[in-house]
Symmetry: C2
Subunit: 146 residues, 2 copies
């Protein structure tokens, strides 16, 4: 059972990346597509790896970090020591991601405050015939200019 395969064009269109990007990932050892003559031919597995790569990129991993994670996924057939090492690395990554999520949540909270501040202002100044009296609290996270 060979499964579906993909040309480089198909993959780039589906994933929204350029062929240069795919070849770059191959240079970096993140993808290893088969060949038909010169042409690359990507398997389902390559596609799955690419999805992981792109999500890793979106969460801020470097290609080197992504490669390390992918290697950990696929090197888990070399005994107890390997598994212990992988487990430790995974746990480290999880902790880093949770810290990052905290930063994101805080950023979201602050931006939401900024939005309601803007909406408050707009509610006040848009009301020509119905002056909504909303208290213009200073929601700003930034200290006032000196």
């Amino acid at each position: 059972m060979m499964g579906r395969t993909y040309s480089i064009r198909q993959l780039t269109k589906e994933m929204g990346v350029t062929s240069r990007t795919l070849r770059h990932y191959e240079d970096e050892g993140l993808l290893t597509p088969e060949r038909q003559g010169l042409a690359r031919i990507y398997s389902q597995r390559d596609r799955a790896r690419l999805l992981l790569i792109l999500r890793g990129r979106r969460v801020g991993f470097s290609l080197a970090e992504i490669r390390e994670i992918l290697d950990l996924y696929n090197s888990q057939d070399h005994g107890v020591a390997q598994f212990q090492h992988s487990r430790k690395k995974f746990i480290e990554r999880i902790a880093a991601l949770e810290a990052q999520r905290k930063d994101i949540d805080e950023s979201i909270a602050e931006l939401k405050l900024a939005v309601s501040r803007a909406e408050n202002f707009l509610a006040e100044h848009h009301a020509e015939q119905n002056p909504v009296r909303v208290k213009t609290t200073s929601y700003s996270v930034m200290p006032a200019a000196e």
Copy 2:
């Protein structure tokens, strides 16, 4: 009331960045410390902005994006149109951050699966005198190699 001020060294030590970084942020218009002669002197407000900058960096914003957000925070004294524009931009940022959080949550979930897979393996192979019979389910998100 002037508030506390900081030398460049104090800020770099507190924030864990180099002075080059602070000067770079100044070149990019993210910070505008006062001067005493030549020496930069950072105010509370500069420090607060720096905290926002560093968190923005941690969540993956470029310096240009961070500058735009900071500008939006501080340009909200130019009428209704400005506020509407700011509100829209903030909402866009929030949506992007929420998408990013989703990616992070998915990554965490996958890494946790990988951890339990490793722990399962270790439980099986560590058990010499007490053979723990745990089903070695294939948790892998990656399709098997072809």
